[in-house]
């Protein structure tokens, strides 16, 4: 997977002997129909980008330098105050750190579990593949709000299924040592199926001859997995990791339903903090500043993952 466009040479239709173009034309300019279609697409996408993305981002950026409260109608320039307040707030940094821990743990398990289960389902040894594919994807297709309510009840220390079933006595959502892990556990359960399906798709698209050639060379299953399957799944892994980074840095609903950031602030993730500042305290300026810092982190992490994957690819090829 790559975000750069392919080399233009790829697009040239290979000349075929039996097809003789009636009138040679430049593909570059295109015909009238092509231009209309092209322009429509450009205009629609461009307008949507401008109106729904560029303009809001610009407004949020400007707003982050203001005391912006929609209720009182205040929009007063205060320079960098929101940013200095934010960066000097312990709550902000601990939320950010917590969000990092949350994302790393969830992404690790999502990828590891997803890969292991996908390989297992893909294996010829497994029976009932269709059933497993459905089962493991079920949590993913369940609305997060619903999932959070189910788990909230399962986490109840007295009547919840987890303590009852395992004979434990843990106050999952209120004990600061368990509250964040509880949210992480639920998120992994909800989302690992997504990785299973993506890795399965990746496995299906591995050319069979690559594996066959390897077995002719005498490689055993384990060696084949490490030297062929895994490297070929690298682009899919990058895809999973990047989409995960983007979505987990924004995770919010699970906190809203399960803990509201508590006990104290021990489960407050950065997006929940932004939500509270914006829509509970109506401090839009401060919330926008926090959102921008989040954007910078998201962009940085995404870029790093791209770089890492590109680097790995080069080392594999070279």
């Amino acid at each position: 997977m790559t975000l750069t466009t392919r080399p233009k040479a790829d697009k040239r239709p290979p000349e075929k002997n039996n097809v003789i173009p009636r009138k040679p034309r430049s593909r570059k300019r295109g015909n009238a129909g092509e231009r209309t279609l092209r322009n429509t697409v450009i205009i629609v996408i461009g307008a949507s980008l401008l109106l729904l993305t560029a303009y809001p981002i610009g407004l949020a950026f400007v707003g982050s330098f203001h005391y912006w409260n929609p209720l009182s109608g205040a929009f007063d320039f205060i320079g960098l105050e929101n940013y200095t307040d934010l960066l000097s707030s312990g709550e902000f940094w601990s939320s950010l750190l917590r969000t990092g821990v949350f994302s790393v743990v969830v992404i690790f398990f999502r990828v590891a579990l997803g890969l292991a289960i996908a390989v297992a389902i893909f294996s010829n040894l497994t029976r009932g593949k269709a059933i497993f594919r459905t089962i493991f994807y079920m949590p993913t297709v369940t609305p997060l709000v619903a999932v959070a309510y189910i788990w909230q009840m399962m986490y109840n220390p007295q009547t919840g299924a987890i303590n009852t079933f395992f004979g434990l006595d843990i106050n999952w959502l209120y004990d600061p040592n368990f509250a964040l892990p509880s949210i992480i556990g639920m998120t992994i359960w909800k989302d690992f199926g997504y990785a299973v399906i993506l890795f399965l798709a990746g496995l299906h698209s591995i050319p069979e001859d690559a594996l066959e050639a390897a077995s002719v060379d005498g490689a055993n299953a384990w060696q084949r997995f490490w030297s062929i399957t895994l490297p070929l799944l690298a682009p899919m892994t990058v895809f999973v990791v990047i989409t995960s980074i983007i979505s987990y840095l924004q995770a919010f609903v699970q906190v809203l339903v399960l803990t509201q950031g508590g006990p104290g602030t021990s489960t407050q993730l950065i997006s929940y903090l932004i939500y509270e500042q914006a829509f509970v305290k109506y401090d839009f300026g401060y919330a926008s500043a926090a959102a921008f810092v989040l954007l910078i982190f998201t962009a940085l992490l995404t870029l790093i993952s791209f770089r890492l994957s590109a680097g790995r690819k080069n080392s594999l090829e070279g």
Partner: protein, 454 residues
């Protein structure tokens, strides 16, 4: 293409599915009602007239709770004026306070909406004054005068609410207790709670007293120890005081020393009480409605909150707060505002529906004609309240007080923060939030006001 066709037909089906519904506007009324009794004593409402010239009109009324009781007012009004449709919209508390202010700010929002006075500063700019006879209103309603500013009133209280101890009657009887055993002071309360606790080794099976997630009400009992919330200037928060700490320590000891409950047993006190896990909880009067709606099978009683020393009247038993009458949206269109004004006149004189509303929240009614009502006098909660004379009103306390105190208690109870620094932290947050909104306490207006001891 099959997929596209499938999707298109699904979409069409969905349109059909959702397209119907809605509507239900009132009917045109040609002739004004006649012969209907005029209701009210000093403030009166005469229903024998056409409203909105008899033309159909619809308006919304937002609320966060009590939809059944408020709906009753709307129904009674619509019966008199069938051309009016009042649509009640009920939303959970958090959603309500997220959306309502933003709606009002954008110049929209419902014509009528319920008010909680902790959001007084937020809502006030968007409120239209009541079009009522102020003198008559003040004669009919206790405390109405306090809400009059510049000969105008935007809302008043329809009742007064405060905190009480709620107990499970079956558990009470099972422990061999009778009504004579209501504890008067906190020391006796400790003993009763122990009697009501059931343990299996270290595991609690039944909590004698549960205060989990009740910190927003429990956290303000420092008044019993003689301490105010605010400094003498009424604008500086001063809840970081020995009285607050003493209060917190008492409850922590109930769990840690007396083991009558646990932070890990029934993480939400109300729910735990409703499930029949906990024998006693401390909660405000609105619990009455909640219990009736969600836990109809729990048989409960109430008694007045104990005090440090039963032989000595405390500085105040507790704080109280008024439950506010609905507000009229100043941004609504004129026709809707006219109906809303007429409706509020009706609301304030509708004795029967008002009585049910007051009972639902266990309020001491502000409407004077209800004071002697036998049903209200017989209500255990109203009885338990006793004389309101020794209850203090801090004013329309902004929400940050309760949320910050809750955070502090959670930090102490679950995160091992020491009480002193947690409360100091809460005070800091409150001070910084108040700096933006501004708030002047009504504490100095308390009949027995005395500055906090130093």
């Amino acid at each position: 293409m099959k997929i596209m066709r499938a999707i298109a037909s699904l979409g069409a089906a969905a349109v059909l599915l959702t397209g119907c519904g809605g509507g239900g506007a009132g009917t045109t009324v040609e002739k004004a009602p006649s012969g209907q009794p005029i209701q009210g004593t000093n403030l009166t409402y005469d229903p024998n007239k056409l409203v909105n010239d008899g033309k159909p009109i619809e308006l919304e009324w937002w609320m966060w709770d009590g939809d059944k009781q408020f709906q009753a007012f709307a129904d009674s009004y619509q019966e008199l004026h069938p051309n009016v449709t009042i649509k009640t919209v009920n939303q959970p508390w958090e959603a309500y306070w997220t959306k309502l202010p933003l709606q009002l700010q954008s110049g929209k929002g419902p014509a009528l909406f319920n008010i909680h006075n902790s959001y007084d500063a937020t809502l006030s700019p968007y409120l239209e004054s009541y079009d009522v006879d102020l003198a008559a209103l003040e004669k009919d309603y206790n405390g109405a005068a306090a809400h009059v500013v510049d000969e105008k009133v935007k809302y008043i209280d329809y009742g007064i609410m405060t905190g009480l101890i709620w107990y499970n009657k079956a558990m009470w009887a099972e422990a061999g207790l009778t009504e004579k055993d209501y504890p008067k002071n906190w020391e006796d309360f400790r003993g009763i709670a122990q009697k009501l606790t059931k343990r299996d080794g270290d595991t609690i099976k039944q909590a004698g007293f549960n205060f989990n997630a009740a910190y927003n009400s429990l956290g303000f009992l420092q008044y019993q120890n003689g301490y105010n919330l605010m400094a003498e200037d009424a604008v500086t928060p001063a809840l970081d005081n020995p009285g607050t700490l003493q209060n917190m320590q008492y409850f922590l000891d109930l769990y840690n020393v007396d083991k009558v409950g646990s932070k890990d047993f029934g993480p939400k006190a109300i729910e735990s009480f409703g499930k029949g896990q906990s024998a006693m909880i401390y909660e405000w009067g609105h619990l009455h409605g909640t219990l009736d709606k969600n836990y109809p099978s729990i048989d409960y009683g109430t008694f007045q909150t104990p005090v440090p020393d039963a032989n000595e009247t405390p500085y105040a038993f507790d704080r109280y707060n008024g439950e506010s009458t609905p507000g009229i949206n100043a941004g609504a269109d004129e026709a809707q505002k006219a109906i809303a004004q007429d409706f509020m006149n009706f609301f304030l004189t509708d004795k029967e529906d008002m009585k049910n509303l007051v009972l639902n929240y266990s309020l001491a009614p502000s409407y004077k004609v209800l004071a002697d009502d036998p049903d209200i006098a017989a209500n255990p909660v109203v009885q338990a309240l006793g004389s309101l004379d020794r209850y203090i009103w801090p004013g329309p306390m902004p929400a940050t007080f309760e949320t910050s105190i809750t955070k502090a208690w959670e930090d102490v109870v679950y995160n091992g923060v020491d009480p002193k620094s947690a409360i100091a932290g809460a005070q800091k947050t409150i001070a910084s939030d108040l700096a933006k909104s501004g708030f002047t306490s009504a504490e100095p207006g308390y009949a027995h006001y005395a500055p906090s001891p130093r």
